[in-house]
Amino acid sequence: MIEVQHLTKRYGPLTAVDDVSFKAERGEILGFLGPNGAGKTTTMRVLTGYMPPTEGKAFVAGYDVLEQPLEAKRRTGYLPETPPLYPDMTVRDYLTFCARIKGVPRSERVSRLRTVMERTAIVDVAGRYCGKLSKGYRQRVGLAQALLHNPEVLILDEPTAGLDPKQIIETRRLIKELGGDHTIVLSTHILPEVSQTCNRIVIINRGRVVAVDTPDNLTARLRGSETMYVQLDALGADAEAALSTVPGVTRVSASDRRDGITGFEVESEHGRDVRRELAAAVVGRGWGLLELRPLRMSLEEIFLQVITEDAAAPGAAPEAAHE
């Protein structure tokens, strides 16, 4: 549905996107993850036909965005980083204008407008001026605009930026709902967002793709060892020694300590579950076991790890960032 092949975009001497390739299948939600200035917006702008690539090709629904821009644009809904609203227009007028230029047939305009406004929960501001809307509403009107012509592909540049927590949850839910019949590419630098909404993640750093996988696989791939968190009411030194003797444990480190309660991070061999042995060791010595849980590598850590690996890799791209 979406295909990007060896995309490169240079702004003068600056390489914003460097040989990026990825694919998204129909109905998939692809998360585009990267620090600010990694080239997310640039890639999206090429995909939407806003700007041509320096090298490489991009296809939307089988149409080359450079060769057949109108066909590709007809099938793309785009929410830029800043929702493109006209402050002097009311929400309804604005969406009517968008419907016109996006080629929604006159007979369907009213019903499309209603559907989209209900879906994005902006019916109650239909008569308000876009310039007077709160950030949350602006974002949703922008999303409504992207959905108007019922495009096969949705490209959302940081759709939850600037929203309050409740709106973020609502927006994510909406995106997940849309995922079924639309192919979605969304960019973000907020990590929980991709793990909650996306089927696949593309991690991009300094213009280059550093990892493409599902959130689960990424987590598994990068987890070299199992880590447990153990909290007990014993003195640090004794407990550390005791935990270290449990078979399979490779490393023990105290992570927090207060009022005679100590927490440890216990690393064990890969694939070996040492929870029973740990519990037995603690209880056998007469200490109280207050907490025992596996520590999963959060997406933040994965992300940082991938980015760091990328930076350490030989021949890494020179400093290039453009947003």
């Binding site: 493109p84 227009m89 230029i101 605009q145």
Partner: protein, 255 residues
């Protein structure tokens, strides 16, 4: 075409949603009214004198009142039209709405044509302010209507030239102040370019006279449609819009 019209409609609505439309129309109405009243009094006095000499029939409303009014007031557009065109592209680029237009299934030509038509629409609304004045003359006197229609045609074409230049300049900047000042300067140059014609050699003189936008209006106000002027105005407009198209495209590549 319907896409261009959708944009033209949006542009026109935008003008009337902001104070710009009311300011330019009001300003022009005020100035036109002033010139009209002034020249009407002058015409009136002359008619009296002519009547006293027994030659009232020699006076012509078209030639001696309507024509000078339109020629004099055409200068006002030099000041007013930059205010219309300054926002066309500059504002869209500053606020980011240009992303909506460029990612919608529209061609550059449709966008530019829409913006051009929108600005022409507002300009036509300004000209419409003059219709009651002219209608008054039909009530009181007996002017010929064909030269008046041709005068309006000439005014529209001249405005079209100014607007196409203004669009081009606006497409090159994000800053409306820059757009308005640059546009005003160019308009002014195009107006005064033939002032030095009388000091130049005969060949240069012709060229300078030919370049002046306002000079070509003269024959229209006489009620004459000369293909020379028609070709000048139309090719000027097409060239201006073409430059705008190139500029928008260049901007896209530059990113």
């Amino acid at each position: 075409m319907s896409n261009a019209l959708a944009i033209a409609r949006k542009e026109l609505k935008g003008y009337f949603a902001s104070p710009i439309a009311y300011i330019v129309i009001g300003l022009y109405a005020l100035m036109f009214g002033w010139f009209f009243y002034n020249l009407l009094l002058y015409f009136d006095r002359q008619s009296m004198q002519m009547a006293g000499l027994g030659g009232a029939g020699a006076m012509n409303v078209n030639e001696q009142l309507i024509r000078p009014v339109f020629l004099n007031t055409s200068v006002i557009f030099l000041f007013v039209l930059p205010m219309i065109t300054m926002r066309t592209y500059a504002e869209e680029k500053r606020s980011g709405t240009i992303e909506l237009l460029l990612t919608s299934p529209l061609t550059d030509l449709q966008i530019i044509a829409g913006k051009f038509l929108g600005a022409i629409g507002l300009y036509a609304a300004m000209l419409a302010v003059t219709v009651p004045h002219v209608a008054l003359l039909f009530l009181l006197g007996d002017p010929e209507w064909i030269p008046i229609v041709i005068t309006y045609l000439g005014m529209l074409l001249m405005g079209g030239c100014f607007i196409s230049v203004g669009l081009f300049i606006s497409s090159m900047t994000k800053n409306q102040i820059v757009a308005v000042m640059a546009t005003f300067t160019v308009f002014l140059m195009l107006w005064v370019i033939n002032w030095i014609a009388s000091f130049a050699g005969p060949r240069t003189q012709d060229i300078l006279n030919y370049l002046s936008i306002t000079d070509h209006l003269d024959d229209f106000t006489r009620g004459v449609i000369d293909t020379k002027h028609l070709v000048y105005y139309l090719s000027f407009i097409v060239f201006g819009l073409y430059l705008t198209m190139r500029s928008v495209d260049a901007e896209r590549w530059r990113g």
